[in-house]
Symmetry: C2
Subunit: 337 residues, 2 copies
């Protein structure tokens, strides 16, 4: 049904429309691309493509515009990810290398991605549930108050102030700290609940009330914080892309952590590039935008996802290249720190 030339025409339409932002007609196509056929032939192909639902004309006697389905075909079969230039790679490396802690890595990553793609960048913090405990620290603040600090292998630090039901002596704190650390060190966060459940038996009865409070806070922190943090940057790029409709809606969606999470997260294969185009999108306000996302992680474990959000008419090959590259570099940085 769709022979090679028709696909070439579709590719040309997508490319031209992305770069000019104007409906593209048969004559312009024949001029700008070496298709070797006349405008009339192209018109026939375009009619076929329109029947298939890949392109669409805003009104009679206007050029054609790709539909979401058209972009989808383009992304899946007509384009290949465009690698970054050497200069861009080096820029990424040096820019990310200077970060000193997790907050800063994430912050720099999101800005970098926004600047590189000229879209809105979105980065999810490395998931707690997929990382492991590196250290638990209990710091006495007052007689019945301690601060609990959880450090994970990704450099993330969670802290909570805990009010205890009873006074606790310093040496009991030290003991508890030691027990917790031997039990939890290197433990995958997913295994923490069961590990914690088995702990009280190994403590003296007098410690149990206090320990129970602390343990429950540990669990709470891990579970509550499962709602992972997401940050974004580059909203100004939205204003630049002449958005037909709903800039307001898009901005609102961006401030809804939950929506963002679903955008990045819901995907089948975790490790590869995910592209969601226009109406494929679950959220109503985001018709007209596409998301390009990728997982990142240290080593082979995926820790979280990052990506960009832009108008449906974005340069997919370039954007996908940038997202993939940044995801890889962040993974390296995290693995190395």
């Amino acid at each position: 049904m769709l022979d090679d030339r028709k696909l070439a025409v579709l590719r040309a339409i997508v490319e031209d429309y992305v770069s000019t932002n104007e409906p593209v007609g048969s004559k312009a196509l024949a001029d700008r691309h070496n298709l070797g056929v006349s405008p009339a032939t192209i018109r026939n192909d375009m009619a076929a493509l329109e029947d298939g639902g890949y392109i669409h004309q805003p009104h009679t006697s206007a050029g054609r515009v790709p539909t979401d389905k058209g972009y989808r075909l383009f992304v899946d079969r007509l384009s290949q990810v465009k690698p970054l230039s050497g200069a861009e790679r080096r820029a990424i490396e040096t820019f990310l290398a200077g970060a000193i802690d997790l907050d800063e890595i994430v912050m720099r990553t999101v800005r970098l991605l926004a600047q590189l793609t000229r879209h809105v960048a979105v980065v999810q913090y490395p998931s707690l549930t997929r990382s492991t405990v590196r250290h638990v620290e209990i710091v006495p603040l007052a007689d019945t108050r301690v601060m609990l600090v959880l450090i994970t292998n990704t450099g993330r630090v969670e802290q909570r102030v805990v009010d205890l039901p009873d006074v606790i002596a310093d040496d009991r704190v030290s003991h508890l700290r030691a027990v917790l650390n031997t039990a939890l060190d290197g433990c995958g966060l997913a295994q923490v609940p069961e590990t914690v459940a088995a702990l009280p038996e190994r403590l003296s009865p007098e410690d149990r009330p206090v320990a129970a409070t602390i343990l429950s806070v540990i669990l709470e922190t891990l579970v509550e914080r499962h709602e992972e943090k997401i940050v974004f940057a580059g909203a100004a790029n939205l204003a630049a892309a002449d958005f037909t409709i709903g800039l307001r809606d898009v901005l609102e969606a961006l401030e809804e952590q939950v929506v963002l999470m679903r955008l990045l997260g819901e995907t089948d294969d975790l490790s590869e590039l995910t592209v969601r185009i226009g109406s494929e999108n679950p959220y109503t306000g985001l018709r007209g935008t596409s998301i390009v996302a990728a997982g990142y992680g240290s080593g082979d474990k995926e820790l979280a996802r990052l990506g960009v959000l832009g108008p449906t008419r974005m340069d997919y090959p370039v954007t996908m290249g940038a997202v993939r590259a940044v995801a890889r570099y962040v993974g390296q940085i995290l693995a190395g720190s």
Copy 2:
């Protein structure tokens, strides 16, 4: 020069323009406000106000619009801050009360403020330099690696991983921790540098290289982090306000920490409400926007600032009331935690 009635006319113009977003003419004024005079008289007053530069007509035969100077006069002499309703106060209290750590307090505050005012809210993290050290923790991670955790009285936690020049035994760590805590506990962050400088003398020579590294990191953390964090929320409200020009510029400014800092920060009297109107603003892209800001803190010490940014034609009395109220409540929450 400006008698009472002229001021009343200016006030009426500002109020009407803010609520209708359309240039307001003499007839409308006479109808909607009980000024007790005819439109003709109002026209004379308006001519005087225009001579004074308080209002301006976009073109001949259009209504008048307040100038920045007009808003300034309105804010300074013609209006008073409008307190929140009881329901709103209670909403604030319950909304902020649920926060468990500093990050969440700030996060909730900025969202609350955005929702309350329907503008963009901006909140600066409580300043490190104005708070005091509550605890210093050193956590051994490996032979030549420790994690340094600084806890302040505002609940802020700063952590850094430190690579040491030498192996350090656990008991030396404990000792160092003890020395640091006795020296620094309750110490205002501004005094930390001198306190730290005096420390090495009190340590045994063998500890000094390691201690020096750790101390320098402490200083570095405090100094570097002096670039304080700022967050914002409610960008979607910008799109709603029909912005004449430069939505792009405004979004860009919002993502520049430095610009935001200056907007909130540069002010003479720290503790009161600050209003900066349109061109009074230092940043070019923010012509057309006003900032209402206030300091907040626990007790009498101001820790940082917060505020909102919106179109010049905002409802100043209401906005100022909301900002002031939120600032006070956040102060209370911080003091109580």
